[in-house]
């Protein structure tokens, strides 16, 4: 058998309750609403790619994971980071470019955090998917029944390496969960204008990867789909591709100003009605679960504000830090 030590401790995810899922989404929402203001004011650095409207996906998927599982995110990654439990203060400080940021100020939004097995948030579309497959291979070789998750946008399916990885993952039965956050846009382009069909499920199916569609704005539906995909991966049944349909209700990105792409007003209005926080409240009512939104949002807002205040007074990285971590083995 393998001599690689199984350092990744497997802890089964506890069954998620709707209130904690809602709280997770509220934290991302409050965080990003504040972030957009702070970026306008020039306090936060780099482009802000808001995740607003897609929170149910990060929260639902991460609820199905244990601490030992690996996650790969991309440039629209605040939601994944927070749902994965990356420290709020560390993330906020990172976005302020401060020394105590999770990556010491080197990454801004493109963070990785070994404490939470968040391998990376890549700024290169599609590139994180084979990396997640590699983490899945580690789990397979170690035999520790952990899984790897890749989050990516619908745009990633344009990239050849994604198709290559689907094939490898399928044939090698990797414990990999591929989460396609299909929001119908790729920066200024509408996906329907540049893909042969809107759904990308058949791409996964063509590689004989189990493919499931889910309402990406319904956190319970996402959590259920993720639980079953993770269970299959842990059981040695190979990868699952989850196509979560969703919508970005803000815009692609913002520096001082938002990017200029336009959304049809009726399309936007329809999706706003299906905002994941609203959908969660509807589901709570249907299921007769007590869920009071405002206290949870207020609590999230307070945590965010505290993190912002802490980041503001945090020190900048020392000049010498520009040379550290270039070569492993050196500083």
């Amino acid at each position: 058998m393998t001599s690689i030590p199984a350092t990744l401790e497997e802890t089964a995810a506890p069954p998620a309750d709707l209130a904690s899922l809602f709280a997770g989404m509220a934290l991302i929402r409050e965080f990003e609403d504040r972030l957009l203001e702070l970026r306008k004011a020039g306090e936060v650095v780099g482009p802000v790619h808001p995740y607003i409207g897609q929170e149910a996906i990060a929260v639902g998927v991460c609820a199905a994971l244990g601490d030992g599982d690996s996650v790969v995110s991309h440039y629209r990654g605040h939601g994944h980071a927070l749902a994965r439990g990356v420290d709020l203060n560390g993330l906020t400080a990172e976005l302020f470019g401060r020394a105590n940021g999770v990556c010491g100020g080197k990454a801004a939004a493109l963070i990785g955090d070994p404490r939470r097995n968040l391998l990376m948030s890549s700024g290169i579309v599609g590139a994180g998917i084979p990396v997640a497959a590699g983490a899945a291979m580690t789990a397979q070789v170690r035999g520790d029944s952990s899984v790897a998750v890749a989050f990516f946008g619908d745009g990633a399916l344009g990239s050849g390496v994604v198709h290559e990885t689907l094939n490898l993952a399928s044939v090698q039965r990797l414990p990999l969960v591929l989460v396609c956050e299909h929001n119908g846009y790729q920066a200024g382009n509408r996906t329907e204008d540049i893909y042969p069909e809107v759904s990308v499920l058949r791409i996964a199916e063509a590689h004989r990867v189990r493919a499931v569609a889910v309402d990406g704005n319904d956190v319970l539906a996402v959590a259920a789909a993720a639980r079953s995909a993770v269970a299959a991966a842990r059981a040695g049944e190979g990868p699952t591709f989850i196509e979560a349909r969703t919508y970005l209700t803000k815009f692609h990105l913002q520096f001082e100003r938002p990017s200029p792409e336009v959304r049809p007003p009726d399309e936007l209005a329809a999706w706003l009605q299906r905002d994941p926080l609203t959908v969660a409240l509807t589901r709570a009512a249907e299921l007769d679960i007590h869920l009071s939104a405002e206290p949870l949002r207020a609590e999230a807002r307070a945590r965010v504000e505290q993190a912002v205040q802490a980041a503001r007074s945090a020190p900048w990285p020392a000049a010498a830090e520009v040379h550290t971590h270039v070569l492993a083995g050196a500083a």
Partner: protein
């Protein structure tokens, strides 16, 4: 295109002139597409390697593609098509095929895009024979060199600094005729030192030379404009006269700057004149960090250039 909007106008004018020009990008300019149609102006999925590969095939079979890769970092996805194919087919076919393609990308701006997407990769392509490497140092040069690129018989990599978009004089820049490849521009003259500046660092070097001049020190400022081919005679002649070399670049020292110094070995008189008086003001050999406190240390600034010139002047007489 590439954060420098004026270049869209150049492309439109060139499209009018040459019906074989086509444009491929994930974000093709709407005005270009509106005027010339979806046949010649294509919007592609995020498929850079395939886009550049299509560019190679289209170029070999009669079109002149411009493939806009948006960011230099995305160009790294296309290394195979650029290096193994675009740059090799003329040679490998014994001169039978040409690949008249232009691949454009933006380099670094002060946008805190981080270690992956703030990159000047042009130095890499000085080591990949077969590719012409263009790095304009002003808006006017950007226009003139792009006009040459779309007329060039072989593959051209065209890297533009987003900072150039801040320059004024749009209509004068637009009127710049095609500029020759392989000919450096001597932008200022002086015998104290030779400042070779690349791309977005050119305006910064000019500002430094101006302030040095105000203090009585005049330097040559040379802008190579193309890194491959490189105008070695112009740089060597200047260095032979001044005896001091400062290379200024937004990119890493081991990229273009060190290679420019290396090429001076072709001119022993220039190397001898230097006698060790060489300085670099460029990105140190580290990735570009996001935090402005760190990022600032990776830029050539006016003050750093002035300091480096003074250091070489003080080194000895």
């Amino acid at each position: 295109m590439n954060e420098v909007g004026l270049l869209d106008v150049v492309v439109q004018e060139e499209f009018d002139r040459d019906p074989t020009l086509v444009f491929l990008a994930t974000n093709s300019p709407a005005a270009l597409r509106g005027r010339f149609g979806a046949d010649r102006v294509r919007i592609c999925a995020i498929s850079e390697q395939a886009m550049v590969g299509m560019g190679v095939g289209a170029a070999m079979s009669g079109l002149r593609p411009i493939v806009d890769l948006n960011r230099a970092s995305f160009g790294l996805l296309t290394m195979d098509q650029l290096v193994n194919h675009a740059g090799r087919m003329h040679y490998q076919s014994g001169g039978g095929y040409r690949v008249p393609m232009v691949v454009t990308a933006a380099t670094r701006g002060r946008q805190q895009l981080g270690p992956q997407n703030e990159q000047c990769t042009y130095g890499l392509f000085m080591q990949t024979p077969g590719l012409t490497v263009v790095v304009p140092g002003s808006l006017a040069e950007a226009c003139g060199l792009l006009r040459t690129a779309v007329r060039w018989p072989g593959p051209v990599l065209y890297f533009v600094a987003p900072e150039l978009n801040r320059q004024r004089g749009l209509s004068a820049a637009l009127g710049t005729p095609p500029l020759p490849f392989g000919v450096a521009a001597l932008l200022r003259r002086g015998d104290a030192a030779t400042i070779v500046a690349i791309g977005g660092a050119v305006p910064v070097a000019l500002a430094a030379a101006e302030s040095l001049s105000n203090a009585g020190t005049d330097c040559d400022v040379l802008d190579p404009r193309t890194l491959a081919p490189l105008d070695v005679p112009a740089i060597a002649d200047s260095v032979a006269r001044t005896g001091r070399l400062i290379v200024v670049d937004d990119g890493p020292r081991s990229g273009a700057p060190v290679q420019i110094l290396g090429r001076l070995a072709e001119r022993p008189d220039a190397l001898a004149a230097l006698g060790g008086r060489v300085g670099f003001v460029c990105q140190p050999d580290v990735p570009v960090p996001s935090s402005p406190a760190l990022e600032d240390l990776t830029w050539p600034t006016e003050q750093r250039i002035v300091d480096e010139v003074r250091r070489l002047l003080d080194a000895d007489g």
